[in-house]
Symmetry: C2
Amino acid sequence: MSSLVFLDPAYPAGRVADIAAAHLPVTLQGVNRGDGVFESMLYTQQTVRKIDAHLARLAVSAQACDLVIPEEISWRSAIDTAVADFDATGGAEEAVVKLVAMRGEHDEDPAVCWVTVTPAPSLGRQQRDSGVDVLLLDRGYDSKLAERAPWLLMGAKTLSYAVNMAALRYARKHGAQEVIFTSADGVLLEAPTATVLLAQRDGDTKRLLTPMLETGILPGTTQGAIFDAAKQAGWELGYGPLRPEDLYQADGVWLVSSIRLLTPVRTLDAKPIRMDAELHAQLSALTDSIR
Amino acid sequence: MSSLVFLDPAYPAGRVADIAAAHLPVTLQGVNRGDGVFESMLYTQQTVRKIDAHLARLAVSAQACDLVIPEEISWRSAIDTAVADFDATGGAEEAVVKLVAMRGEHDEDPAVCWVTVTPAPSLGRQQRDSGVDVLLLDRGYDSKLAERAPWLLMGAKTLSYAVNMAALRYARKHGAQEVIFTSADGVLLEAPTATVLLAQRDGDTKRLLTPMLETGILPGTTQGAIFDAAKQAGWELGYGPLRPEDLYQADGVWLVSSIRLLTPVRTLDAKPIRMDAELHAQLSALTDSIR
């Protein structure tokens, strides 16, 4: 069973609600305008992973949207309540803990905030083993736009995900399962719901690279955690500007995200991508160690 | 009072519901991903204006999102029921009829669709007389992107409006009330919730210009109706590429939309915009004649 807990000042531990029931009026700006923010975390082995990083990013996203959201302690209490309810009603080996905060009907209304816990989709788990076929799609922005245009909310994780979803549908209609967005000037950005990671092996040196944040991509919490762990394990780290040819020349390319973790890219625009099995095994172990 | 009617196969005329009550579960993709489409129409003097144009655009937006929505007849029935309910419970001189269709929880679920009727905001009506101060803000896209990138949903009116709302908040923080987006290559696009129109007087010739649709802007139903009426009245018509200097050299600049109708632009980036009172009066009369 899935669980739902609303953040509610009258219920310090959060208000448990029936996830199948109707809870939202149609008049919320969050509902009508995609005007809100969210986070998704993996809950497995009794642990909600990287909760600090996700709560920090939620706060940054909310600030970009001028959305006042509850303090961290309220989120943590609601999360605790939600996972306890989830476990008490059956649980799952892997689950998604989703945090949502959306603007109310009037600007002065408090944000409407909730936590859901649902079983992790099986497709993402399969793709960790099978890998994915990826299309490169133009995101339309140049790679230097983010800093000069805060109104574009680049780097904020908002509920306005229609383009991300449309890009994934476009990929599925064209024989792929995933997308890596490129900027108008040809720089690699991110996947619709994941960060891009590539590895290079150079003699005894192992190097891990990811697109630079200045392109306006979302700062990946999983990428950040993998980088921390890889550094400890002796890898070199680097931040792009990366281009498609870097992917074709890499010794491994992955999409990384909180729920699906490390997903190998097997083809890019139908051309094969190399995968060094040893590097993949090492990165998988590092990823599994993230808490 | 405001009215709400859901499209529901079990209720051919639509299902009247309490707009203040909760109706939506938190699990809808429309709620979580801004994955849906909408339209707003003006209801005044017993008429919902430009209903054909709005229903046609709703269908185009839905198709861009691969969202299957009910037939027009279901929308028309629900609209009839909603305005009748609105009038029976008090009505208003001007009201907004909003149509929303959003993706359900699972891809195979039918879209969740409703019609609301609410009194038109007083601010928009005031601004028809007072005019608005406008900032030019970069939308980040180049003006030739739309055709080569259908996954960006340009020209579709989706619920993912967080950037549009953020741009308006940015304007309000910087001494303006409205925004005109420009492309990365400096071409005028549109306002977050309106179309840009400019007039030129050249001897006895009156010319009306608007940005070309190929830039990926939303096709304005009000702009279209004003163009039709202006052509009948002897105006010349033209479609950009337009640039900011065209606005400073114009004899009048307006933001036009279904609810606010014709809103004069009084300043652009704090510099005054000329307004030919006679042209404004003529365009106002044309706009008032739209049904």
